[in-house]
Amino acid sequence: MRTDPAVFLRPATWAEALAAKAEHPAARPIMGGTDVMVELNFDRPRPPALLDLTAIPELAGWERTGGLIRLGAGVPYTRIITELGDALPGLAGAARTVGSPQIRNRGTVGGNLGSASPAGDAHPPLLATGAAVEVASARGTREIPIGDFFTGPKRSALLPDELIRAVRVPAAAGPQQFAKVGTRNAMVIAVCSFALALRPADRAAGTGIGSAGPVPLQAPEAEEFLAGELDWTSPEALDERVARRFGELVAAAARPIDDVRGHAAYRRHALAVLARRTLTWAWDDYRRETAGAGDVDGQR
């Protein structure tokens, strides 16, 4: 016997959605459905109600105010790639690696955050850029810094009556990179992933580690190390030792486990490699930008 959710709620406005969530806190929000429907199709414990958010226009848009992008929770990955590649290159880079075209046409950052999987690909770039999650309930709106959002594997700081309205992501102020290790190029959950965002004006760098700990992580010591070691004013070719040390510090910040997708030791090793590579790419980008015409060591 199927025990399907008894109610399908379909609010047409954000206010209605918050009212519905207040009235039915156990209702399961559904946006792209790429996580929720997999669970429903496989007869996992079924929620008493589904709360469909796809009819709410506000969630499906994004806007830019000064240096900040407010990305609606329901903007699918495909649109992040086509519309926000310049403003949010790290997130757009991660979006390109999600699932398949069909999955990217439906899946959203709001849903990625809602699932709060340690392997969610949106999380590392959001950590690296210091984003904040805008959540709301009938009681009001609050902003959760991304570093406080993830509280455990598939657990977040979102309260039962709250919904995710948007993420607020600073527009890129320098080169950003994302890299992911998986078993093939498409359709893979990350074995581990890494995002790097350089902010030359602040002489700072942000990091985000995916799928190598109970929650997505930052690597604060690696960030401090870079801020001190890199010569932002007249950038030289990256010192191999700096890249290597950065990789070690990122690997040390991870808290990986052995699981079906990979061993902890492999994840640490792979993270060090990803960190080194993304730094090399980002630093080359930065040198190209500061050099102007694009002449770095004869590369064009």
Binding site: D4, P5, F8, G33, F42, R46, D52, T54, S100, Q102
Partner: protein
């Protein structure tokens, strides 16, 4: 619950839909459109691909209620009366069909690819079809079929 939607240009009504049911189930079991195939029900194989408001999606991952008031186009809606769509004809001619289970999804996904990019490079074809699995053909004939369809529908040969 009742779900009303437009499928292949026609207004359709499905009754007694369970709130957790997928669009794929509604299409196949309630509206008599078995073109979209049910293989994995987890978004991995693409055999259930349909257009939802002009965007190709895995219909197994769309809740039926989410399709309320929206437009769906399935593989059944691609042919023009008795005339196959060029993508369908190309798949048949290139020998890109063996058991045929993956074919409807591949055809809808290819249709969408050529709509957006009439002359895709090899890498773009592979990327576009990365979410469509085939257990029979080894994909070579499928790629050939896509190129044949592209050549016929306006891209360069």
């Amino acid at each position: 619950m009742r779900v009303t939607l437009t499928v292949n240009g026609e207004r359709r009504v499905a009754d007694d839909v369970w709130p957790g049911e997928s669009l794929l189930y509604v299409l196949r079991e309630r509206l008599g459109l078995p073109g979209a195939k049910n293989a994995c029900e987890q978004g991995e194989c693409g055999s259930c691909t349909v257009y939802l408001d002009d965007v190709p999606v895995c219909s197994c991952l769309v809740a039926a209620g989410q399709a309320q008031g929206r437009e769906v186009r399935t593989v059944e809606g691609l042919a023009d009366g008795g005339r196959l769509d060029p993508v369908q004809a190309a798949f048949a001619e290139a020998g890109a069909v063996q058991c045929g289970f993956c074919t409807p999804g591949l055809i809808v996904q290819t249709h969408a690819l050529l709509r957006d990019d009439p002359d895709p490079a090899d890498a773009d074809i592979r990327e576009a079809l990365a979410g469509n699995l085939c257990r029979c053909t080894g994909y070579e004939k499928i790629i050939e079929a896509v190129k044949l369809a592209a050549a016929r529908t306006g891209g360069s040969q």
